[in-house]
Symmetry: C2
Subunit: 234 residues, 2 copies
C-alpha cells in the first residue's frame, strides 16, 4: 500500500520503518528536504536524525509534504503537533480529498522544558483542529497514547492493554482498526472506539499523565489497560 | 480516627459512608448546613441528596467547613472542584496546620453541559492551587481517577488496576498509601507514586479521557491498569 507519512522524527521513523518492513511503499514528507537531510544532530527525542536513519533504510523516500500527500493512499500525521496544520496546508487539496489521515501526533509544547504542556487542550484538540481545517480528510486519531515502539509492536508490553480510536467517519475508523491489526498486530479486543473526533481531547490530554508515568517508571514502554468493573446497578 | 470530609455530594457520601462502616468518626463539612439539609432534589450526579442520605446514616454529623476542619485529624477534599479553595478558606488556619488533606476532587466544569471541561489544567491543577493557597497543609492527590464506588472498593473491578498518589511530602504520601490499604483495601502494588504535587496535573487531566471511557463503555466502574513493557535498551 502507498502510505504518506508527515514528519521525519523518531515516531515517523519507527512507524515508517515498520510499514516498510511489511512491504508498504512509504514516502516521508518534510517541509524542507535539503534541510532535513543536512541535519546531523539527534532529534529532540534523542534518536538518530533522519539523514542517518535513511542511510540504513534506503528504500525510504523523502519528499516535500505536498508530494507525500499525493503519494499516500492513506496518510499518517507524525509531525510535532505544532507543525501539523502547516504541513497539511502544503498539500494540494485534491490529494487530501476523501483520504484517511491517521493522526498519531500530540500537541506537545517543550518550549518551557520538561515536562511539556499541551499547546491545545480541554476545549479543543489537535485532531479536531485538523478535521476542521481539512474537512475533506477523514481524520482518525489513534496510537498517540503510546511510545512509537509500542505503536508498531504492542506485544512488547505483556498482558492486555488498550489502544484508542476517535473519528467522525465510522467506515474510516473500521478501516484504521483493520490497519492496526494487519500492520502492527493490535488485537481487535484491545482497540476501544471512543466516539467522534472530539474524544481525541481525552487521548491527547492523557499525555499529561503518560509523561508522568514515564518520569516515575523511567520506562518508555509504559501504557494502560482499560478495565470495567461490575455493579449491581447494571 | 477523626476524619473531616469537605463536601456532601455523591463522592463524599460514598467515601464517608465507607469510613464510618470501618468505625471512623466522620464529620462532613458544608458551606451552609441548613441549606444542605433543606435540599431534597438529587445531586448533580443523580444520587440521593445529603438530607436523605444522612437519615440512613444517623451517626454522620454535618457541620460548617470550619468545624469539619477542626474535627479531622485527616481531611478529605470531596467538594466540587470549583468550591475547594473557598471551603478551605473558611477553616481556621491552625486547624489545617500540619494536617494531611487527601484531595480526591476534580476541577470539572459542567457549566457548558456534558462532557465537562476542566476549570484548571495543563499549566496548573486544583491540587497545586490548594497546596499553594494552604502551604501548611500536606496535600496528597489520590483516588480522583476512579468512580467513588471503586475508590472505596477496588475489588469491584477484577484484575490489577492502578491508583495514583501525588504530593510534596513523602511521609504524608506514605501515610495516605497506608490509609488506602487499611480503609479501602488497595494493594500496595496497585498504588503508583507519580511524584510531587505538580504530577496531579496528570491525574486531573486524565479525567478528560475517563469521562469518554465512561461515555463509550456506559460503565461508571471503568478504570485503568498501568503496564510496563520490556525494551532491549533497559
Amino acid at each position: 500500500m502507498k502510505i504518506g507519512i508527515f514528519g521525519t522524527g523518531m515516531v515517523a521513523q519507527v512507524v515508517g520503518g515498520a510499514l516498510m518492513a511489511r512491504g508498504h511503499d512509504v514516502q516521508f514528507g518534510t517541509r524542507d528536504v535539503a534541510g532535513t537531510l543536512a541535519r546531523t544532530e539527534k532529534t529532540g527525542m534523542g534518536s538518530a536524525p533522519f539523514s542517518a536513519w535513511i542511510k540504513d533504510n534506503p528504500k525510504a523516500t523523502l519528499a516535500p509534504f505536498r508530494d507525500a500527500a499525493r503519494h499516500g493512499e492513506v496518510l499518517i500525521n507524525a509531525t510535532a503537533g505544532g507543525g501539523s496544520l502547516a504541513a497539511l496546508a502544503s498539500a494540494d487539496p485534491k490529494d487530501l480529498a476523501g483520504k484517511i489521515l491517521i493522526d498519531i501526533a500530540n500537541p506537545l509544547d517543550f518550549s518551557k522544558g520538561f515536562p511539556p504542556t499541551l499547546s491545545v487542550c480541554n476545549t479543543d484538540s489537535l485532531a479536531e483542529q485538523i478535521q476542521r481545517a481539512f474537512p475533506a480528510l477523514k481524520v482518525v486519531k489513534s496510537l498517540n497514547t503510546v511510545n512509537a515502539s509500542v505503536m508498531v509492536s504492542p506485544a512488547v508490553v505483556s498482558g492486555d492493554h488498550t489502544i484508542f480510536v476517535s473519528g467522525n467517519d465510522a467506515a474510516a475508523k473500521a478501516e484504521v482498526q483493520r490497519y492496526l491489526g494487519e500492520w502492527f498486530g493490535w488485537q481487535r479486543s484491545s482497540i476501544l472506539d471512543l466516539g467522534d473526533i472530539t474524544t481525541a481531547r481525552g487521548t491527547e490530554m492523557f499525555l499529561a499523565l503518560w509523561i508522568r508515568l514515564y518520569a516515575s517508571t523511567k520506562n518508555p514502554m509504559v501504557t494502560i489497560n482499560v478495565l470495567q468493573g461490575t455493579t449491581a446497578a447494571r
